[in-house]
Symmetry: C2
Subunit: 114 residues, 2 copies
């Protein structure tokens, strides 16, 4: 039997009644859209197809009361895209929960003793 | 766009450097061994093969500093099994983390607004 330390791991995500809404991958995509102002550049930097990125963004927009991402001229074929206030709020809140969750797991890891 | 409420979901598990140690399925198995005093009965009530249950228990015993389950006469072929103090502690602590985790997710769900 190994002398080992126990580590509490975890993950979280956000759902609506319609299903998956936000997870770490979708948040990363939103952050990259914010950074590049473009869905295609965001997709590329995640090694994701444009189609997949667009589907994920569409899914997020459909789930939320207000869209998270809006596209300018060019539409689906690679025109500019930017985050709405709702999109920005989604990132901030998700990353905040992530921080607290990480701390929660650290505390539980310290406490766990067999 | 749907009028929806956002729900924060999550899960957690415990690892050692050797890999997965405890998750909700393994804890359920330990609880059933505790209840029935038998790995085969525990396995049956989880609709799991005896072999799989034995492998999971062996994995837990290997990861921990002290075994969680000990078998009496009969050994691998269905003799009695019982939890050690370590096994009991594992259940109690896991279920405690689960409670706090659930509350954490509820609080985050209430706070999340877009």
């Amino acid at each position: 039997m190994a002398t080992s330390t126990y580590q509490v791991y975890g993950r979280f995500w956000i759902q609506t009644k319609q299903g998956a809404f936000l997870g770490v991958g979708r948040i990363e995509l939103l952050e990259l859209v914010q950074k590049y102002g473009s869905i295609s550049k965001a997709a590329k930097s995640m090694k994701m197809s444009y189609r997949r990125a667009w589907e994920l963004i569409d899914s997020m927009n459909q789930h939320a009361k207000k869209p998270l991402v809006v596209t300018q001229t060019g539409g689906q074929n690679g025109g500019g895209a930017s985050l709405t206030t709702t999109g920005e709020k989604a990132i901030v809140q998700f990353r905040k929960i992530e921080d607290i969750h990480k701390k929660f797991l650290q505390v539980q890891t310290k406490k766990f003793k067999l």
